[in-house]
């Protein structure tokens, strides 16, 4: 926890009532269904949820990179208090990478196999700064060193297939760091890394957040990672944030039955990077259902759960959307 977070100022990244939908043959998929959160400067927000809950789409929506048939239909995205959701394409382009960056989920697919690492990173540098090619390569090399890649200059000359998955993931992280953005969306950036490197990266991210004030949205399946790294946690289920709060409070005293199941399904000695075991039952297609979408799988469900669940407040910003939140002895 970074206890030294400054007095309540404008959050570095704020999302309000974000709705992103995909038009599909079977109807409209509400991939992100009214998601809101705020991340302060230097804070790390962990976004957890099982596969298909809408975590990546949330990230893409923030960057304006949702591709058809997807569409952001509603919501406000603020960067340092400035709305960026409705910027023209050119203005949004200048923002991406420079003010808000993203590390993608799949390290194998994100780098172009036929271009050198240095070429790709230098292009990212020069997308925002008018510097010479040589200077751009220098900066790329420095960024690689920041994420702990040995002999970075030689790595710049390599092609993606010559690097391990973990190395590629670090290249992607280094690329996101190039312009010291206000916010970085990191979509499962450490899943391909082995435990020691993962620890190294997480420590590095923590240090970066504290020193540069960069806000991180840390998307992951891995509760063990967020519990040690994140300041706060949002738990997503079927496109909605069902529980949020300070990381230790959510992990120690989960209120929403879904979070309880998530926390409970993390065995002690759980290997980091391992995907969360699937809970009983499948994820329902997020749809225009006003009731609690978890009710088909919830052990506590009653008939009232078909109506919109209320927001329960458990103090210190810890809230959950549930008719029958789990009680914890004080």
């Amino acid at each position: 926890m970074s206890g030294a977070s400054p007095v309540r100022s404008l959050p570095a990244l704020e999302v309000r009532g974000l709705r992103t939908q995909f038009a599909s043959r079977g109807g409209i998929v509400h991939a992100v269904d009214g998601v809101s959160f705020a991340i302060g400067r230097g804070e790390i927000l962990g976004l957890v949820g099982e596969s298909g809950s809408g975590k990546s789409v949330t990230g893409f929506s923030i960057l304006g990179l949702v591709e058809p048939p997807g569409r952001v239909v509603e919501g406000e995205i603020l960067l340092d208090g400035r709305p960026i959701g409705h910027l023209a394409a050119g203005a949004m382009r200048r923002l991406r990478g420079a003010q808000v960056a993203m590390v993608f989920q799949d390290p194998l697919m994100t780098l172009n196999p036929v271009l050198r690492i240095g070429t790709q990173m230098a292009a990212a540098v020069r997308a925002h700064d008018r510097v010479s090619r040589a200077a751009a390569w220098d900066r790329a090399g420095q960024a690689l060193a920041t994420v702990g890649i040995p002999s970075p200059r030689e790595r710049l000359d390599a092609y993606p297939h010559q690097l391990s998955g973990g190395m590629r993931q670090r290249v992607a992280i280094a690329t996101a760091l190039l312009h010291s953005p206000k916010a970085i969306i990191a979509d499962e950036p450490t899943t391909a890394l082995d435990v020691s490197i993962q620890g190294q990266i997480l420590a590095e991210v923590r240090r970066l957040a504290d020193s540069t004030g960069t806000a991180f949205l840390w998307i992951t399946h891995d509760l063990a990672v967020v519990s040690s790294l994140a300041d706060a946690i949002c738990v997503m289920y079927a496109g909605r944030v069902v529980e949020r709060g300070p990381a230790d409070a959510v992990i120690a005293a989960p209120r929403h039955p879904y979070t309880v199941a998530l926390v409970g399904s993390v065995p002690s000695g759980h290997a980091p990077g391992e995907r969360l075991p699937q809970l009983a039952g499948g994820l329902p297609p997020p749809g225009g259902d006003p009731g609690c979408l978890f009710r088909t799988r919830c052990p506590r469900a009653t008939t009232v759960c078909a109506t919109p669940p209320p927001q329960g407040d458990f103090g210190a910003g810890h809230t959950a959307l549930c008719h029958h939140p789990v009680e914890h002895a004080a």
């Binding site: 172009n112 196999p113 036929v114």
Partner: protein, 321 residues
Amino acid sequence: MLGFFLGRLAQAALVMLVMSVLVFLGVYAIGNPIDVLIDPAASPGQRLALIQQYGLDLPLWQQYLRFLGSVLQGDFGNSFVFRIPVLSLILSRLPATLELATTAMLIATLLGVPLGIWAGYRPQARSSKAIMAVSVIGFSVPTFWVGLLLILFFAVEFRWLPSGGRGPTGALGLSIWSAEGWTFLLLPALNLSLFKFGLLIRLVRAGTEEVMGSEHVRFARAQGLPERQVVGLHVLKNIGIPIITVFGLEFGSTLAFAVVTETVFNWPGMGKLIIESITALDRPVMVAYLILVVLLFVLINLLVELTYGFLDPRVRVKGAP
């Protein structure tokens, strides 16, 4: 890299050997060339002498070895019709075909690649659909027919360009040095480029669409790369391989089979020569032409494969021992 190269070279030699057998069987051993060579009124003695002179009394395999031996020395014999060595006859026609094919490929590339990229970049746009319609016409309408139309419009109707033949030639036996040369070259080159143009548009569009939908383009956009860079860096490099392949093979077949265009436009290239030699049953020319065409394809294939190594680093690694 050297091992890779030598391996491919051995493969190429093998292909050439097999092809030489086929060509030999196809052209030399079937039918009796003596009937073409000799005056029907010749005496049996003269006939026998000629048969022995050409080695036609030997067993087939010995005939083949003799044929192979002289071919390896670059000796394809003399043309029955022109009475000069076949090789120099064909080579004298090479510049005409070469400049025709190269110009056609250039036209096809300079127009086809940008149009294909646009069609792949904005597949839903009306302009893209128009481009695709043009490309369908490009490779489905017969060459000779388009050629005749071109002549009809530009030569007969408007009298802007000559209807056929070739302009004055300069250095290297090429006619591209003078404006007059170009007036002759333009129509046949345009005609010959049409199919490649259509093909290239399809190919480039498919490649562009695929790359644009890829994660690495999305990642590039997430870094704020301008669209011009996304296309210039990612798309161009990724679609390079299929383009070079088809390009190489197409260039080979354009050189080898510019026959129709050369005939329609009366262009004095190799294609016209082969047509003439077939009508005249000029066997040495046919054989040499076929062998050279195979050689051409083998060489182009080799070149294309080597180019892959430069374009796709993954191939390079696999090729290395």
